[in-house]
C-alpha cells in the first residue's frame, strides 16, 4: 500500500494512505482528545474534541475523520483549539451532575480526564440540565441518563452484533436527545442481553457495571486480564483484585470477532472471584435470581459427573 508523508506538530512521519490524522498522531505518541471515537467503532465525529488545524485551511477538521495526505501539516494543540476544547468540555460539564466524588467511573472517566487536562471545572448555572433518569431495572447494568454525553459509542457497539443485539438507539432531538433501549423500554423489558459491550465503551458514568459498584475503584485495584473459557471466541475480561482478593469482573472493550456475552462474563466470575454475586437470568422480560447451574447450563455436565461418580459404576 502507498504511504503518505505528513507533519504533525512539526514532526514528520509516513503512514499508509487511508490512515486518519488521529491514528497518525497516536503513532507519533501525540494523543488527541476524543470522547466519541473508539478504534472498534465507525467514525462519527460527534464530540468535536479531536478538531485539529490543517495548514492552508481556515476550517477546523476532526482528526478522527480526516485522512492523512501527502504534505499535510497538522497542529493538534494550538491556542485556538485549546480554547474550543475548553468551551466544548464546559458545555458538557454544564449538563453533567457534579458527583465525581462518588461516581463509580471516577478515575477512568474520559470527561474527568479531559476536564483535568484542560482545566475546566463545574460551575453553577440556572440553565437546563439533563433530567436524572436512572434505569436500575437490570442487575448487571446501571444506565444513568443524567451523566450521558451522547457520544453514541454504546449505540454503535450494540449495533455491531446484528439481529441478536441492536438494542440501544438515539431517541428525541436536540437537547432532549437520549439513548434508549428498543422503543424506550427499560433494560429489563428490552431485548438487552446484558453483554456489557456498551458498558465497556462508555467514556463516562452513564453506563456502569452494576456488579462492580461499591466494591473497588480503578486506582485501588490490581487488574488482570483473563481470557474467557466459555466458548471459542475467547473474549477478554478484566478481573479486579483488591487487597489480593479477586472481587469483580468487568468486560474489556469488544475486539473483532469477540462479541462479549453474559454467559462468558458469569463463567469468568465463577472461575476467578472469591465470592461471586448471585447470578440473574432474564425470563420473559423479567430478571429472576438463578442458580449457577442454571445460568451456565451445567446440569448435563453435573448429571454426567454424578453418573460417573455412581457407586455402582466403580470397579
Amino acid at each position: 500500500m502507498k504511504n503518505v508523508t505528513l507533519t504533525i506538530n512539526g514532526k514528520t512521519l509516513s503512514v499508509p494512505s487511508g490512515t486518519t490524522v488521529f491514528d497518525a498522531a497516536r503513532s507519533l505518541g501525540v494523543e488527541i482528545p476524543a470522547l466519541c471515537h473508539h478504534e472498534s467503532l465507525p467514525v462519527v465525529s460527534a464530540c468535536r474534541l479531536c478538531l485539529v488545524e490543517v495548514e492552508g485551511s481556515r476550517k477546523l477538521q476532526t482528526s478522527c475523520s480526516l485522512l492523512a495526505t501527502d504534505g499535510m501539516k497538522v497542529q493538534t494543540e494550538t491556542p485556538r483549539l485549546i480554547k474550543y476544547r475548553r468551551a466544548i468540555l464546559q458545555l458538557l460539564l454544564d449538563s453533567h451532575p457534579n458527583d465525581c466524588l462518588t461516581c463509580q467511573k471516577a478515575g477512568e472517566c474520559l470527561l474527568q480526564k479531559y476536564a483535568y487536562q484542560y482545566g475546566v471545572t463545574f460551575r453553577e448555572h440556572d440553565g437546563a440540565r439533563r433530567p436524572a433518569q436512572t434505569d436500575l431495572s437490570s442487575p448487571y447494568i446501571v444506565k444513568d441518563d443524567s451523566k450521558c454525553i451522547l457520544c453514541g459509542r454504546c449505540v454503535r457497539t450494540c449495533d455491531q452484533v446484528e439481529k441478536e443485539r441492536q438494542v440501544l438507539a438515539f431517541a428525541g432531538r436536540g437537547y432532549a436527545t437520549r439513548i434508549v433501549a428498543d422503543d424506550d423500554k427499560t433494560l429489563e423489558t428490552s431485548k438487552c442481553v446484558s453483554c456489557n459491550r456498551c458498558v465497556s465503551l462508555c467514556p463516562v458514568g452513564a453506563l456502569l457495571d452494576r456488579r462492580i459498584m461499591g466494591k473497588v475503584r480503578p486506582w485501588e485495584a490490581e487488574v488482570r486480564v483473563k481470557e474467557c473459557r466459555s466458548c471459542d471466541y475467547g473474549c477478554h475480561f478484566d478481573v479486579y483484585y483488591k487487597d489480593g482478593k479477586a472481587v469483580a469482573v468487568k468486560a474489556r472493550a469488544p475486539e473483532p470477532g469477540r462479541p462479549l456475552c453474559l454467559r462468558g462474563r458469569l463463567m469468568t466470575e465463577l472461575l476467578w472471584l472469591e465470592r461471586p454475586d448471585t447470578p440473574w437470568r432474564k425470563i420473559g422480560g423479567k430478571f429472576v435470581k438463578a442458580s449457577w447451574v442454571k445460568v451456565l447450563g451445567l446440569q448435563r455436565l453435573i448429571d454426567k459427573m454424578e453418573l460417573l461418580d455412581a457407586p455402582g459404576d466403580r470397579q
Binding site: 460527534a46 480526516l66 458538557l92 436536540g174
Partner: protein, 533 residues
Amino acid sequence: MITTERDLITIENLREVRERARVKLDGRLKGVSGIAAWEGGYKLTGPFYEKQQRVVLRNCGIIDPENVEEYVALGGYSALAMLLKDWDPKRVIDEMTRSNLRGRGGAGFPTGRKWAEAYRHDVPQKYIICNADEGDPGAFMDRSVLEGDPHSVLEGMAIAGYAVGADMGFIYVRAEYPLAVERLRTAIAEAHERGLLGERILGSDFSFDIELRLGSGAFVCGEGTALMESIEGKRGMPRTKVYRTSHRGLWDCPTIINNVETFANVPVILEKGVDWFLGIGTEDSPGTKVFCIVGKVNNAGLVEVPMGTTINEIVYGIGGGAADGREVKAVQTGGPSGGCIPKSLFDTPVDFGSLARIGSIMGSGGMVVMDDTDCMVDIARFFLDFTVDESCGKCVPCREGTKRMLELLEKITKGKGEEGDLEALSELGEVITSTSLCGLGQTAATPVISTLHYFRSEYEAHVRDKKCPAHSCKELLEYFITEKCIGCTKCARVCPSACISGKVKERHVIDASRCVKCGACQAACPTGAIIKQ
C-alpha cells in the same frame, strides 16, 4: 404518423408532440387574464411580476402541472432529447461547469463541479437525489416549483443521471407538502406512461427512474448527508465527511444531491444555451434566484430576479416596502442559518459572495422583512428557538451550545440580562460556528452574531436599561394612558385583570403591577391614548 396523447414520446416525435400540444395550450390560454404571450412562450402579467425575471418559475401558474403535454408544449423535455440524441455525458458536464450554476439550496456549490466528481468514479451504481426537504420558516420556493412545474425537476434529474451515469433518482420531499407530493406522483406516473422515465427514455438507450421518499418533519434532513441516512432508513443525523457525497453518498455510492431549484434550472440552461444563462445575473453567481419575501411587507410572495439585484429593489421595488405605513428596519435572508441585514446595507446586490461579505447567506431564498416594531433580540431568539428544536443532538456544540445561547437570549428578552451576557453570546457563537459538525450547527449562531453586530444597541438597551426599543418584548414594556384619554371607560371594561381605574370623563390610570400586558386596552381605546413604553 399523427401522435396522440397516449403515445410514447420519443426523440423523433417530440417535435410533433410539442407542436400539437402547443396548439391546444394556446387555445386554452387564449383570453385567460393575467397571462400574456411573451418571447415565444407566456408570462404572468401585473405589477408584481413586471420587475421579475422568471426562469425557474417560467411555467408556474401558466401550465397545468398535471398535464405533461403542457410542459412539453413550452419546450419541456427538448433539452433531454437533444442530449440523448447528440451529446455525450462529458459534454453535458462541461457545459454545466461552464454555466457556473451554483447550488440553489443555499451553499452555492458549483453544480458542474459536483457532477464532474461523480462522473469521475467508474462504478456500476450511482444515484441522483433531489433535495425537496424545504424547511426554512416562511420559505416555499421549492414547494411552488414542485406544485407548479414538477416535470422541470424530473427532467433536470434525468439530465443529471445521464451526465454522471446514474439510473436511479430519489426525490426527498417533506410530507408536510401534500399537494407537492401529489403532483410529483402524478408527474412521475405520467412520465412513465409517456416514456420519459423508466426504461429507454425517449426511445434511447438511457434508463432512469425516480422514486419519492417522504420526510417526517425533521429540519436537519435537509442537510445532504442526514437526508441520505434518512433514505437509507436510519435516524436523520448528518454524517462526518470523510469523503464527498459525490464520491461516497447514498449506500456508499457516488451521489449527486441538488436542490429543487437547481434541477429546475438545468433543462432551461441546456435548452436555451449556456451563453444565454451567463447573460443573466452576475459573474460570481449567474442566473436568477427565487426568493420568498414575507413578513412586514406590502407584497409578500415568490419573487424571481436576476442575481445581483439589490435588496432595495426586492424589498421596495417588488415588495412595495413595509406594510401599514411603517418603516422597514431589516431583512433576514437565508432562514434560521442566515443573518439580519440592516436597512443601511440594502444597496447590497443579492448574490452568494456579497451576502457572505455582510454576514448573511443566500440560503435557500427566504427573505423576512422586519419593521420598526420588531425587536432584533427577539428575532434572534425566535430563530435560535427553531434551531434548538431542530438540532439532531449528534454533536456537542450544536446540541448543548445552542441551548445555552437560547437561554441567554430568553434571559435578555425577559429583562434579566447581566453584564457579560453579550460577550458570552459572542463567544458561544464563535465556538458553535467553528466546531459544529454540519451546516445546521455551523450557521445556527448567524442570526445572533449578525444582530449583535448590526443592532448591538438594542441588545444593550435590553441588558442595561431593561428596555426594548421596539416595544416588543412583553416583560420590558409598560402600557401607559396619556392625556389624550377622554375617560370613556372602554379600556377599563375590557381589561381582563381589572387593573385600570378612573372616573368617567377623567383620565384613567393603569396599575402596572397588575397589568398582564395583553394589549386589550390599547385595541379598545378610541382615541389612541394608550401607548407602550
